[in-house]
Symmetry: C2
Subunit: 129 residues, 2 copies
């Protein structure tokens, strides 16, 4: 087999357990709790490889960092333009993936990002009137 190292194993574990959408640096900080002398370059290299192979997702919301996600169950990333939070919203199916399949494309990962204003920020705006 190829592609094994305890560093990669730890990175995957950390990503599967984190419910946030950490940056490469946040993953690095977390993995150091398991492997204290892991290198930041190793984290970047493995995140890039895992993304390329479709084992993890990467999402971009315009804050200058890539955010990573170890959860491949179909879900939407609700990105609030106000508070900048990313919240997960789970779907029972993957509509885009299924539509892609029907067109002859063979999908393996789907990234959904819906930007707008979240429930909480709408309440706050209404209270200000």
């Amino acid at each position: 087999m190829k592609n094994y190292s305890k560093q990669r194993e730890a990175i995957i574990t950390v990503l599967r357990d984190m419910k946030t959408h950490p940056t490469a640096n946040a993953v690095y900080e977390k993995v150091r709790e398991i492997i204290p002398n892991i290198s930041l370059g190793t984290v970047y290299r493995n995140l890039a490889a895992l993304r390329e192979s479709g084992d993890i997702l990467a999402i971009s919301i315009g804050d200058g960092f890539d955010h990573f996600d170890g959860d491949k169950k179909p879900h939407i990333h609700l990105h609030c333009r106000e508070c900048k939070e990313i919240t997960d919203l789970y779907m029972t199916e993957d509509p885009a993936g299924e539509f892609a399949t029907s067109q002859g494309f063979v999908p393996d990962t789907s990234v959904y990002i819906v930007s707008g204003i979240c429930k909480d920020c709408i309440s706050k705006q209404e209270n200000q009137i």
Copy 2:
């Protein structure tokens, strides 16, 4: 009114007309045909502002560049891991946006990226057997 300049106008026009998913630099090259002495910084500044305001989309596929898209009609970006092409697949509705709405989120833009292997690359693989 605010936010007007002929540079921004030209950037929007170029993005609406391009059917590809250009990088900031590709937008810059194209806009220079209209405004030869426009600055690359101006292109970046406007692309960031237009993205922030939800007037254009940005998509990230892991090649180190942000790609921009002036088309807000609901569509999926089919990203082939083999040939790296991004193809548009139009939907009649925006399933994730509608689902988000039903949960109290107020959406304004949706980005869909489905990664996998495109029709053409599958044919090529089959021919190789």
